[in-house]
Amino acid sequence: MNCRAPAMDPKSIADNVAGTSARMLEQQLLHQAIELQGGKLQLDWLIPDMHCVGCISKIENALSKLPAITRARANLSLRKVSVIWDPKIGPALDQDRIFDELGFEHSVYDLRDSGDKEYKQRGQRLLLSLGVAGFAAANIMLLSVSVWSGAEADTARLFHLISGMIAVPAIFYAGRPFFASACNALRVGRLNMDVPISLAVLLALGMSIHESLVGGQQAYFDAAVTLLFFLLVGRYLDHVIRGRAREAVQHLTGITSRGATRIMPDGETIYVPLEEIDCDMSLRILAGERFPVNVRLCSESAEIDRSIVTGESQTVTMHAGELIEAGALNLSAPVMVEALGSADESFLAEIQKMIEAAENGRSEYVRIADRAAQIYAPAVHLLAAIAFVVWLYITKGNFNLSINIAISVLIITCPCALGLAVPVAHVVGASRLLRKGVLMRDGSALERMAEADCVVFDKTGTITTGNPMVEVVDSLSGLQRRIIRTLSSSSYHPLSKAISRYFIDTEEIELSKVTEVPGFGVEGIANKQKVRLGNPEWVGKIAKEDTGPSNLTNCQVAFAKEGDRLIRFRMFDVPRPESTETIQMFAKAGLGSEILSGDSLSEVKRIADLVGVEKYRSEKSPSDKIQRLQSLKQEGRRSIMAGDGLNDAPALAAGHVSVAPASACDVGRHAADFIFTGTGLGSIFDVWRISRETALVVKQNFIIAAVYNCLAIPFAMAGYVTPLIAALAMSASSLLVIANSFRPFLKESLLEPDQQSRARQEIGPEERYAA
């Protein structure tokens, strides 16, 4: 190796070191914010436990008190708080602290991608179309009712003409989403639901214009516009739940460092962007930075956080000559490394490729509405064509009458109820999920979830909380508690945060010279005596007795006052609440569970025994996990993958359907179909249960729509359909479908929450899901 010793002046090292973990978190927050005009930044927080006006005002008031914050606005529907602040006045970390103080769990929304804006604009366009269609439908109906109730010929004709004047611009404005989608489908030679819709609407419009000009009675303006109105409702709902189907890959690039400091052979330092980093370059990575590419360590040792690679958030000490994966975080002092390749050969790039490959595999899934359309659209066109030919034959060439009947067949069979059948049911499903604190990526996720037949869990962060539990081995005095509380709250290291949470009820005490020593812990001065919290051996150096390693087994953190005895803490990962029950409920419902973890065998076994999972696999790399999921797929199983880390992200994309906790890493969250914000694992079972119920409702809706069509088609083909009948039949079937979709929602609303949980205990899952 041709590495030089890191040539740094001591002062710059100290700058880099002070408050390392706090600075890292601050950087991360700034990274996730978007810049507004005037140098202000906006950050959106996800607050799952915000339920009422009390929470809203508590949060908004507390945030508004910070001088840096210019606007804090809570959105209860989305469980989101948008904060706009001036980074020159105060750090983003203050917001994190406020949420901690108020006791709200919180995570950060990623605002950086442009897809969000596009999504919002599309939603607004649909709503505008919906408004226009609604306006037109109401006014035309007003006129049509007069015609149906027997207006004189002249009046009827006038009313038809006025209707036409409203309908033509309204249809061309509000129908655009359907016309555009139908054109796209036809261009690639396929049929979707929009083709019969567009055809029916346009033909109805054309025929009605013709009829009203010649003074006929068969004007279907109201049917055409009402149809668009109902379909737009469905389309908008579909859009709402499609939500933030954002590209996981886009976010992965956010984790990668943008560049690094290169040490030239002559000792000069220059900044190189990520794309230009290549094999054999000597780089200096500061504390709190991520390694941009796969590297070999040149400095003597380094403390790194490999959680991005393994999913286990534990600090690892690496020694000179060892390899470090791209994306790992440098925790302690600046280190010298040698690049082993360029950015597209790194570990992160590999993960990115795996996610892309896995997502491609999933895109073959055909949604239920599209499957229905593939049968439905040709059938409708065929029926209309038959009606036309038959009537042409019967009437011996009455072209006008035959085309009228063919068009009325198209109008009456128009998939109005079908267009609502899926989206309304899915919206109801999504809002039921939201009540349970689960966010959903898109509607196809609900369909896939309903088909699942086994569950694969990651361990750390998924089955377990990922926040270590604290056990104090030795006894503590009140003063010691207060010192520990103060020391621990000054660091953002995961273990330190866990200790801080443990002592949350203890008051803080004033300490001087509190500093974080990366890789070791926090120290300060209390009553002119040194106090330390952190690595037991490091703390042991100032403690009374010389503590040998035998006393330190299973103890990751210790505290001591200078010359006083050592106080040890044991930290261990515990399963999330409800995890045993969840696995039991899945088992009763016939879904087997297994654990797939990157952790060591003993640790995986401990947790597996604790929650009652019999099948477990340990020490699995991301590609091993994909392989396991693919072999399950080959066996014909449809797996629910639940995971949180970056190492799970490819597996999340590879599973038939996937769930991640809100605490998951960015990429994990975006590769997952469902995100649960609660702490309990029971949410995963709720997702499955609600998906099953939703799938059932969708099936019922299809049946309602089919029955309606079976009844209506003979009338239409026999030529008995009038505009009045068409309007009645269409609205009735749509309303029926909507009512059916809301049934589970109403049932759930009527049951009080406590009754619900009792019901869950009383009725075993096997009775409820026997179907």
Binding site: C52, V53, I56, S57, A74, N75, L76, S77, L78, Q124, L127, L128, G131, V132, G134, F135, A138, N139, L142, L143, T155, L158, I162, I166
Partner: protein
């Protein structure tokens, strides 16, 4: 027949007013947090 000359434009204009009000609501973001709006009315401050 005469009253229709007044009534029909009135009906259409009322509908149009509703449509314009809706477009304004939508553009000014009043539909972005429906649950929040329902709760905020209970805020005592």
């Amino acid at each position: 027949m005469n009253q229709l000359i007044i009534l029909i434009p009135v009906a259409l204009l009322l509908g149009l007013a509703g449509l314009i009000a809706f477009i304004w609501n939508l553009k000014s973001g009043q539909y972005e947090d429906l649950d929040g709006a329902a709760e905020r009315i209970l805020d005592e401050d």
